[in-house]
Amino acid sequence: MTQANTLRTAIKAGELKAVDVSKGYGASHFRKEVVSACSFTIERGKLTVMIGPSGCGKSTLIRLLAGFEKPTTGTITLDGEPVTGPARDRLVLFQESALFPWMTTWDNILYGPRARGELTPETRDLAEFLLGKVGLQDFRHKYPTQLSGGMQRRAELARAMINNPRIMILDEPFRGLDAMTKELMWEYYSALYEENRRTNFFVTTDIDEAIFLADRLLIMSNIPTRVRAVFEVDVPRPRRLVSMIENDRANEIKMQALSLLHEEAMKSFSRGSKAAADFVDAYSKRMSKG
């Protein structure tokens, strides 16, 4: 496993800091603040999960971190260097697959190296290694439409990892997968993380997903978004589904997180958010049962 070693030694886990970041859209009194004086740190080599009510501005925050958009005020730095635009050291996995439909799995994975003119025998070996890591050796010549939802997400993980980013940003990557595939992907993804300990930033609206994956859990407020609370999810790794369900510490954190999320959802519910109504409803049902 020489490739595994080269991959591991090559990993540069970065630390990303957001300080007083604000972002709004529209002019003068039509202006809507989406992110407001938001500060947080995505710690080096940790898996940080961000969870917040739907429509709270998480996706906007991701576009800022990735460099697709610039914040109105505040600074975002990666290892002390300011973020000015998109770059390979901050790669984003979007909701739903963004694999290029006209390329096979193999060509998709090699997209980054090829674009930068780094198509060496070593990168080919690395692609081969990653293809095996995500279990898609037999699907290298298939197009994305020929892959299942779970396979597409795995191919995309490989496509991101080959670029060796200092931080991987994942925007609800397992949304839309069926429940069983989703849980398989959690185990799969956290095993991958445990193996290489990159800096990962994972955004979700699913509390079970958040608790299962997180080292640190950022709970976001209602729009305009900022960090409402931070939990250290001190549940040992490696984590497996069965053990997590019965883990008292995990359940305790989950309950605390849920009540905070409920508060935030109530706020947006009182402002007429339809998305929040579902959450408030589900929460009250869950509480009355427990």
Partner: protein, 291 residues
Amino acid sequence: MAMGKTSRLHSVYWRGAISIIVFLVLWEVGSLSKTWIKWESFEWLRNVITALGFKPIYLPWIGAVPAPTEVLAVWMTVLTDPGYWQSWYMSFFRVMMGFLAAMIVGIPFGLLLAVSRTAFGIGFPVFEVLRPIPPLAWVPASILFWPTQEMSIAFVTFLGAFFTIVINVVGGARSIDVRYFQAARSMGSSQADIFWRIILPGTLPSIVVGSAVGMGITWEVVVAAEMISGGGSQIGGTSGGGLGFFIWNSYVGGSYEQIVVGMISIGIAGFISSELLRALGRRVTPWLRLR
């Protein structure tokens, strides 16, 4: 699985064959109406036709068309006429010239409009004003523009496909998911790399669709242009000026069977070129047919 596939294929062929046979039989019966309408038992039908304002000599419309058997007989003799094949060649040649020119000019132009805001701002308003003008309205101007009649016809054919191809390329390139660009830029793509590996393949399906539609229009236009211009250079004698001219010439000469021969020939020619284009389209967009 394989059995299911072949039997489905068989039923497709069967349905196709039955539909053509039924069509031919109805046509034959309809066009023979000039004989059977005189029979005594069809007096009611003659009355209905008279009441509708037609002459009761045959069924309206279809009775005036020669029967498929007669058409076939004439076709057999026409097959040995080199002028007929010359017409095929002429029309195909003109369609291909106009069509290829439309692709060569239209695809880069469409891509330019899609990627450059400046080019779009300057080029698109003019394009949108010229686009609704039917290609046939260009015929007189085209005859004035170009030195030879052949070039005039080719130009009108070119216009037929050009606008459709451009509008499809622009639409296709603009509907590419923004996440593909974001992903490509994040992974370190240059502008040129994004053009060749994202925009071009992302637009290919629309190029194929636009070309297929454009090819259909090209056939419509070439036939009409040949009729109007009198067939161009008359290389193959009276019937060698293209399939459009072949029909017109048959009409002037009073051979109604040949009119139908010409019409069906155009149908076949259009079908062949669309099939060729579709096969080519499938080859260049393999990811669309594999599910």
